[in-house]
Symmetry: C2
Subunit: 220 residues, 2 copies
């Protein structure tokens, strides 16, 4: 059975998955890069982004990378919200924006972008973006078909993850709790009272200061 | 220097330190005992409450008890909110209510109860309750004097802890993050944006499933 998985979703101690005031210049709003500082030094991020440097070399391979690297294993397609694809809101003014990732996006698979404003499919390297207005269940059905028997990754942002959790479609949720208090932004947990009844939950503290929390859907 | 310490303050994944609908019958509201399930089997709780039984014997002595037991070390006085002392609100109808703890409360020290409705001091065993209407700073000054050189414990509830954190009076905050999503109740983190700038934060995952998070005030 193909599963729906979320990986590397970072939240603050107070449960915000992104800050207030997202824009092209500040994709995480006032949180800046603070939710992802644990991620930047990992080999997974370095090899994904080409950010190899004297400071990080080819990247760390400790506990944080162990969790981060699971991102790509056995994934055949991704679903993401439009806000992850780009900072624009409302109808597309043109089709010049082609995502944050340049000509070779790191997905290497079909990507279903959920948006009320459809546009033509976009092929970049070995990633194809499909822009569709679909319910969570229908988006999962499409992505599962595109994944060809592999798992589907739910790439965020937090609003999309929450919608899929509310619809009880998520099988695996890897959170990273970062020891900061953001105070404002997009809350992950709103509307999810009692979520623990459907999941086994395991926490692992990392020497970097973050805590990896994995929620695994119990058999239905 | 006498420090102000908070111990064993449990919060849900979504940051609620108590549920909705607190009453005499449900001191944690709809959270019931779920925030304290990690605590009940510990030797610290068993010896405090006299709940020794065949099921728990004299209590567990693992990681959770290691954290829980720090509650009493080097403490000379406690400060608590009136909601921790009892379920009544508004003016005292009478003085019959003498707390949840019976004739031998587990504090063994002076306790300053913060209330807008003062009443005569109450002596129970070797615990004396002082009912005072004071600002956080003045309450701490009184408790520090009563503690005779030892530390002061801030006993909760969450509203009181948040007020003392806002006033930057807390030196040590031990939280226990319980893997449940409460959805409603009293939030610990509201109004505390940027708290991490004043604290070192260390997380330890327990085999029981909770995560102990210790915030230590940086030198001023």
């Amino acid at each position: 059975m193909s599963r729906l998985r979320v990986h590397n979703l970072a939240i603050s101690l107070d449960g915000f998955a992104t800050g207030e005031g997202q824009s092209l210049e500040a994709p995480f709003g006032h949180a800046d890069g603070r939710l992802m500082e644990w991620f930047f030094p990992t080999r997974t991020f370095v090899s994904m982004s080409g950010h190899e440097s004297e400071a990080v070399g080819t990247g760390t391979t400790g506990l944080d990378d162990e969790f981060a690297s699971r991102w790509g294993h056995g994934i055949g397609a991704e679903i993401m919200g439009r806000n992850k694809f780009g900072p624009q809101r409302g109808p597309w003014q043109d089709h010049e924006w082609e995502g944050w990732w340049g000509p070779e996006p790191p997905f290497h698979s079909p990507v279903v972008v959920l948006t009320h404003h459809e546009r033509p499919d976009l092929v970049l390297g070995d990633t194809t973006f499909f822009f569709r207005s679909l319910t969570p269940a229908d988006a999962l059905a499409l992505a599962t078909e595109l994944a060809g028997g592999l798992d589907v990754r739910l790439g965020g942002g937090p609003t999309v993850v929450r919608e899929f959790l509310e619809a009880d479609l998520v099988d695996h949720l890897h959170l990273v709790v970062v020891p900061i208090v953001l105070g404002r932004g997009e809350r992950l947990w709103d509307g999810l009272e009692g979520l623990e009844e459907r999941f086994d939950i395991e926490s692992t503290a990392s020497p970097s200061g973050v805590v990896h929390v994995v929620l695994s859907r119990r058999p239905r």
